[in-house]
Symmetry: C2
Subunit: 318 residues, 2 copies
């Protein structure tokens, strides 16, 4: 099966032609901070037409366009539900209509953590498992859950994909979502400056003079023995592990896949994360597998084909 | 539809004859702390036979026996999976075989928080909703989730029903389950003595001389202006609210039903709980309803008929 895929994140958009479990061709564009959804659509239209053209030259036509979005969506209606401040005009746009009119393709819209899970399930770290939790560590923290081979959606399509907003500290920091002590306000790249400055030893730490406070910087300093960086790293791994345990207790998976840009430091994260989960998760049936995502930034794009496959199974059941 | 129901909790067992949404007759027995499952079965056999007899005298036979258990179960196999230290011999017993041989009835086994949710769904506070989260506040904290009219089970049947073991404080107290800062180690009756003694003002508080530290005592002292009791009450409500928000973010329900013995102080719990949830839950679609359970200790017994109804629907679909 061939499909087109769009993966729209907070600061970039990727377009691809995907055939089964491989990306035939992809392009990625940086977006200005104030980009609107209408700007994004204008930007991707020509590249997508070129990719569709490429597909039909090599034989079979594309079956559709899988659109991964970094916010809450209603996949049944093909509408964006909540954007948390990004691409706000997207809620008024009919993306399905746009794809039919401009690309002559049927569009399936899905949350990007869910398509990333689908990608890892189909072609990555969760291959062979039907009960999967995915956690993505990046600017924020994302989540998705699959039970018995089906993505969990819930009544308003937000089940499973608020992994970053599971509370891990009810006396913690206020989150952008309005809650207190969310996983993402306790341990994510956007919260990192506040976390570092509040950590003992910051005044004497190399972190104080870092041009950019991200987890690569923190784990590099931690490897050099910087005490503040070690504390920050340990605390964040602890918070992520607590979030994973909550997701395990909530969704009962066989495997937890951890991805996102922060996992570039997987060597410093995964062993401690796995040990904490193994110690703290209550799973009388055995041990949950904890794995690093395999597909990196291609995960959501590679979720495109399974998204269409599952959708046509659902159509067939009607 | 008429069924028999057994509800086995940590310290008591109830037997009932249930017809649709009413309990025709029920009996409850206190259990000794070291009661084994074999003792429980020996105790309930005669009362259940009498109830079955009563049913057939009044016309229709019972369709089966719904058995609610206070631990993890495998409802498909009809086996107890994990007991957390109570009725440990239950894992080796074939309850289905016992019910067929001794009562000539088909047995359906389910976790007691799930049957309590089913009861409230069928005849109580969640009537009319298909997306429901239940939280029971008692000796421990229980949970259950229904999505689109179906109980959530997960791969190993523990999804949804570890509500008390969702982490709310990753730097909190160690829980009996091995995790840190579970909702139930932060705010439940079994954790209450530790919570009270660690709260500032305990030395001067009336709680120090209370013959029994339960939430009724705490909320009574709090209503009298006892500062330590006020702090304990506020903190526990905050923790329960954080747990509810996590369950809302995880399962995306329309309504949260809060039950359990601690809700005898519902007047002091529900307004603050509802306000916190309303402030902190990220639900762009609207507001989650927060309701006190209506059925009290009868909830699990009244879950018996919907349990059999859903099961026969599933049989019909095969």
């Amino acid at each position: 099966m061939k499909v087109l895929a769009v993966d729209l994140g907070g600061s970039h958009v990727a377009c691809a032609l995907v055939e089964d479990d491989s990306i035939v061709k992809s392009e990625s564009f940086q977006l200005p901070p104030a980009a609107r959804m209408s700007d994004v659509l204008a930007l991707v239209e020509q590249p997508l037409l070129a990719l569709r053209e490429m597909a039909s030259h090599s034989g079979a036509e594309c079956s559709g366009l899988a659109f991964s979005f970094c916010g809450l969506v209603n996949p049944l209606a093909g509408r964006i539900v909540s954007t948390n401040g990004k691409y706000d005009d997207g809620r008024e746009l009919d993306l399905g209509k746009w794809a039919l009119e401009r690309l002559s393709l049927r569009l399936l819209l899905e949350n990007d953590a869910r398509t990333a899970l689908l990608g890892e399930y189909y072609a990555g770290a969760a291959r062979g498992f039907d009960d999967v939790v995915m956690m993505t560590l990046g600017t924020g923290v994302g989540g998705a859950a699959m039970i018995n081979g089906r993505l969990l959606h819930g009544k308003h399509f937000q089940a499973g994909c608020l992994g970053g907003h599971l509370g891990v500290n009810y006396r913690g920091r206020v989150c952008t979502c309005g809650n207190v002590g969310c996983l993402e306000s306790e341990a994510s790249t956007w919260a990192l400056p506040a976390i570092c400055t509040a950590t003992p030893g910051f005044e004497e730490s190399v972190l104080r003079h870092a041009p950019k406070l991200d987890f690569q910087t923190v784990f590099a300093a931690s490897a050099e023995g910087d005490e503040c960086a070690i504390r920050v790293g340990d605390t964040c791994v602890e918070a992520w592990a607590a979030g994973c345990v909550t997701m395990i207790h909530a969704y009962d998976p066989e495997v937890v896949v951890v991805g996102g840009g922060t996992m570039r430091a997987a060597e410093q994260i995964l062993p401690a994360l796995g040990a904490h989960i193994s110690r703290c998760a209550w799973t009388p049936w055995g041990k949950v597998k904890v794995r690093a995502a395999k597909l990196g930034s291609a995960a959501s794009l590679l979720g495109a084909v399974p998204l269409f496959r599952m959708n046509s199974q659902m159509d067939a059941r009607k």
